[in-house]
């Protein structure tokens, strides 16, 4: 009875209003936070926004689950002004800001790209009179809803986490004039823009939100205002502007062919036969390029690396659910349009290459955030590789990866941030033995890391799906195989550093964490664990329907989603439970019968009773044992590989356009 009530209640809400909340509320709260400069008020606003937005996204999700249909929505005009016009004006303003920024930063690239983009925009609006879409500018299908759910929940968790983080951050950096209002303005605006991007169907709207995320990320990256931050922010800006230019170019090309500027319609048209598909390849290549820049694929990886100068919540946001995911989302969206073309294969190779290259470079990094960044690049590469494979199975893998990667990566960044605030270091080597000083954070972090690479966690299962999907394209498969083994290397190394500790009795002391640190961490960790335990329902109830709904609708001829028998039939739950037992039983035995602790083996020269591991060496000196991980600078250092990797990346991009314009 109750359930029915809730169901009908949910059915009765206006999804349009929900979309409004999801897109506009963050922006409005951001402005509010900026205006009201009170600490307490800020905390209140952010938390309330978080709850409301989360609630809204959940409701939308439930609505979608109950209604089982996509939502099309045209927002009512405000005060007689149509939203189309508002967005148009907004976009114009953004481009103006970019031009000004370019001039102010004396950066020819930024200026030129902004100008180019503005020119394209003007041409489109003034010169071409584009055939505006007749459909609603906003659309929410199952995929978009799932994405919004992730963005909203993870984004809001990160925003909450940012509250204590920024307080500590400013305290440590002795920033007296708080820049927090500005920070939260852009943070929240970012989330709103991201939601908008996911839900937009009108390509112009999409482009506007796209630019808005670029601006927000730029502001967030340069937040600390150091020279390095500014420089890196500039780099991020110009690379993303390049993506923007590609996007505008794509839209122009579409417009030139008289295509309606609506995602759904473009996709629908692409299914209209080989000729139609071929005609659309060039704009698709443009969109893919745009997606590559945003998701930092190989020739464009550097902006994401640079972005780690930003405060950690920003990194968490950029890497997990927003920004980079926007890029992949775009490609996922348009994938059916280039199904079964060489373009698709090239996209797969761009992804595969980034997957391997990111993993390889991550091995050589001691900076935790850099490792995370490369791992992001790598994982996104995997997603894009899946998209490039362009089969329903691969799509399933891609969507799963998006979900699980967001959760785990957001969590890892936040944990790294907590460690950074406690130990003032991001260096993996200095995190040695963290398990002794911060057992709780470390445990969570270790779970987070393991959730990136081991069964039965979701990322791995997704990877499995990806591997199984990639047998279609053996050359890619090899890249994926190499990439996934390298992934194991750097994660394991890092975990090893965290756990490496001097002899100690097992104890369960827990460090004190600010609740607003702890709760987000716990939420995401348990999210990763629970979703992994429930991987089968997640797959059958969420991912497969989403893929079916949008992909199959367009490409019904494509092979049916295979039964996924192998992966689905596998008894993941019993398996996970067995492993859990394997973890818990020894702990339980240890509690019951405490084993005795002995020093480590140091060839017989250990000195007992010291807090550090110490041995006697030449001249009877007590020497501390130092162990550092392997980073193989000469093998996997950035310097050794940057050149050729960039070259390969650029070559692949050229190939992308080559195939788009020359072949089907």
């Amino acid at each position: 009875m109750q359930f029915m009530d809730v169901a009908s209640l949910i059915r009765s809400v206006s999804p349009g209003a929900l979309i409004g909340i999801l897109v506009l509320l963050p922006a409005l709260s951001g402005l509010l936070v900026f205006a009201v400069r009170l600490n307490a008020a800020r905390v209140g606003i952010v938390i309330v926004t978080a709850w409301v937005v989360t609630g809204a996204s959940l409701t939308l999700f439930l609505w979608g689950a109950l209604e089982q249909r996509s939502l099309l929505f045209t927002p009512p005009p405000v005060g007689g002004v149509s939203w189309d016009l508002l967005i148009l004006l907004g976009d114009g303003a953004l481009l103006l800001i970019f031009c000004i920024l370019g001039a102010a930063r004396r950066s020819p690239q930024i200026f030129a790209l902004a100008l180019l983009q503005a020119g394209g925009f003007l041409w489109l609006e003034a010169g071409m009179k584009p055939p505006h879409a007749h459909a609603a500018p906003l659309a929410a299908d199952w995929l978009a809803i799932i994405m919004t759910l992730i963005v909203s929940i993870i984004g809001m968790i990160i925003a909450t986490y940012a509250l204590p983080y920024m307080r500590d951050h400013e305290a440590h950096h002795q920033i007296h004039v708080s820049r927090k209002p500005r920070f939260f303005l852009f943070l929240l605006l970012f989330l709103g823009a991201m939601n908008g991007l996911l839900l937009a169907d009108n390509l112009l709207w999409l482009a506007s939100f796209w630019e808005l995320t670029t601006l927000c990320s730029f502001m967030l990256i340069r937040h600390d205002g150091t020279e390095e931050a500014r420089r890196n922010a500039d780099r991020a800006l110009w690379m993303n502007l390049l993506g923007g230019v590609a996007m505008i170019a794509g839209i122009l090309l579409l417009a030139a062919r008289g295509e309606p500027l609506s995602v759904r319609q473009v996709l629908a048209d692409s299914a209209g036969g080989a000729a139609a598909q071929t005609a659309l390849l060039l704009p698709m290549a443009c969109f893919c390029l745009a997606g590559f820049t945003k998701s930092a694929q190989m020739p464009f990886q550097s902006w994401l690396l640079g972005a780690m100068v930003a405060p950690t919540p920003v990194s968490a946001l950029l890497h997990s659910s927003t920004m980079v995911k926007a890029g992949v989302y775009l490609i996922v969206r348009f994938a059916p349009a280039f199904h079964n073309t060489y373009l698709s294969d090239v996209v797969a190779f761009v992804g595969g290459f980034s997957f391997v290259a990111g993993a390889l470079l991550a091995i050589g990094k001691t900076n935790a955030k850099a490792v995370l960044a490369y791992s992001t690049i790598s994982n996104l590469g995997l997603i894009i590789a899946c998209v490039g494979l362009n089969t329903p199975l691969a799509m399933t893998g891609a969507v799963m990866l998006i979900i699980f990667h967001s959760i785990s990566k957001g969590m890892l960044f936040m944990a790294t941030g907590v460690v950074e605030q406690h130990m003032q270091t991001r260096d993996i080597e200095e995190m040695q033995g963290l398990v002794n000083t911060m057992p709780l954070t470390t445990s969570l972090m270790v779970i987070g890391i393991l959730s990136m690479l081991l069964p039965p966690f979701g990322v791995l299962i997704a990877k499995l799906v990806a591997l199984e999907a990639s047998v279609e394209l053996p050359a890619l498969l090899i890249l994926l195989i190499l990439g996934s083994t390298m992934t194991v290397v750097f994660w394991t190394k890092w975990t090893g550093r965290l756990l490496s500790s001097a002899p100690s009795t097992p104890r369960w002391g827990i460090e004190r964490l600010h609740s607003m640190y702890l709760i987000p961490l716990l939420l995401l960790t348990s999210g990763a664990v629970i979703f992994s335990l429930l991987v089968v329902p997640v797959l059958t109830q969420l991912v497969i329907p989403a893929v079916t709904q949008y992909y199959e609708a367009i490409r019904p001829t494509a092979a049916q989603i295979p039964p996924m028998g192998e992966v689905l039939q596998f008894p993941w739950l019993p398996f996970a439970l067995t492993l859990t037992a394997a973890v818990l039983i020894p702990l339980w035995i240890m509690r019951a019968r405490r084993p005795q602790v002995r020093d480590v083996y140091l060839c017989g020269e250990q000195v007992s009773g010291l807090p550090t591991v110490t041995f006697r060496a030449a001249g009877e000196e007590k020497t501390e044992l130092l162990i550092s991980g392997y980073y193989f600078e000469s093998w996997v250092g950035e310097e050794t590989h940057r050149r050729w990797m960039t070259a390969v990346g650029v070559a692949l991009c050229i190939l992308l356009f080559g195939t788009a314009s020359l072949w089907k």
Binding site: T366, D427, E429, E430, L602, C603, G604, E605, F615, R616, A617, A618, G619, T623, E624, L625, L626, I627, S628, G629, Y630, Y631, F632, E633
Partner: protein, 359 residues
């Protein structure tokens, strides 16, 4: 943070038969610095030699090291014999060569085995040590003990070797040689082994002299110095040429030692052939007086004894400088820049004998 790894290597370590510690400073797995820490085997024998009488000292110096014991005794006896003075009968001189070379033979076998073990070639270790047991049996039969044979005494030797035993020695040497023909190529020509030892721990001739390397280490760097060429015992009457290699790496050192096995076998054959009849020991008369330095060639290189006596029953000072002591500085110079996996290989390539080093 500087990526530095500082770890102890030894004293108790399975690849080191004897306790010595190397403090290794590494990056990734490349050694940056290696500081030796010794003193685990220091007993104070030089001092003890001042307390015991000079005849008993023979048994003391023999126990400086169980691998090269006979040659310690030989060098010490040579020193005292010079101081007394006392003429050693020719047969004794030849017997000393025989036992000395047998000692070198077993020591080189021992080293070849341990060296193979240093890069994880267990079966080759077994091969060499199995072969070594043949030599050990010879000791047991001719001298009455496997390790510390106690046959050298001031003025000559304590035991004679009977003709049957000489025959048996020749016979066994033939077997040993045949076995060596099988196992030495397995060491020197094997792909995996060459990968592990060629070009590792290179010591140029220049450096070798400068750092005071001795024995096979010196000869592997291309310097033809073998203390046996000074002609103690009966070496001035035997034909041999020092084994020299020029590469100066672990492979060259292995090769020198391997060839010295053959050289030793050859020398024993010569000695047995030319073995004169007669007395085996002269009775020492008087008390040693004066200072003298003697050197003999050990399996590991040049051993130096300096004895200062003042005409009493006890010595004033006995100084022992063993070959490993001289080879440690080259080792310290060779290690930086090598891989961690090569540390045991390079360390063993000087054939460290710590009990000799520390006395």
């Amino acid at each position: 943070m500087a990526l530095k790894t500082v770890i102890p290597f030894g004293p108790q370590h399975p690849v080191l038969p004897e306790p010595i510690q190397l403090k290794l400073v590494m990056k990734d797995e490349v050694v940056q610095e290696a500081i030796p820490h010794i003193g685990y085997v220091h007993r104070g024998i030089e001092k003890a030699a001042e307390k015991m009488d000079y005849v008993q000292n023979v048994f003391l110096v023999e126990r400086i090291c169980g691998i090269c014991s006979f040659l310690h005794a030989l060098c010490y006896c040579e020193a005292i014999e010079k101081l007394l003075p006392c003429e050693v009968p020719p047969r004794a001189r030849y017997l000393r060569v025989i036992w000395g070379e047998l000692h070198r033979l077993q020591s080189q076998h021992l080293w070849l085995g341990l060296f193979a073990d240093a890069f994880g070639y267990e079966s080759l270790f077994m091969e060499f040590w199995r072969n070594r047991e043949r030599v050990m049996d010879l000791f047991e039969k001719t001298a009455g003990s496997r390790i510390i044979i106690s046959t050298c005494c001031i003025g000559g030797v304590r035991r004679d070797i009977s003709d049957e035993h000489l025959e048996e020695i020749l016979q066994t040497l033939k077997e040993v040689e045949r076995a060596l023909d099988h196992s030495i190529p397995a060491l020197l020509e094997d792909y995996t082994v060459r990968k592990r030892i060629v070009g590792k721990g290179v010591l140029t001739a220049e450096k070798a002299v400068e750092l005071g390397a001795v024995g096979p280490v010196l000869r592997a760097s291309g310097i033809a110095e073998d203390t046996r060429m000074t002609g103690y015992a009966a070496y001035d009457e035997l034909d041999f040429k020092p084994v020299v290699e020029t590469a100066g790496d672990c492979y060259a050192r292995a090769k020198v030692r391997a060839l010295e096995c053959y050289q030793g076998i050859e020398l024993i054959r010569q000695a047995i052939q030319r073995l004169p009849d007669g007395e085996i020991a002269a009775r020492p008369r008087g008390r040693p007086n004066g200072r003298v330095v003697t050197r003999v060639e050990q399996p590991r290189g040049e051993l130096l004894y300096m004895v200062a006596a003042n005409g009493s029953q006890k010595l004033e000072r006995m100084r022992v400088r063993t070959p490993t002591f001289a080879n440690v500085p080259p080792l310290v110079a060779m290690l930086p820049g090598c891989e961690f996996a090569d540390v045991p290989v390079i360390t063993l390539s000087i054939d460290p004998c710590i009990s000799c080093t520390e006395r």
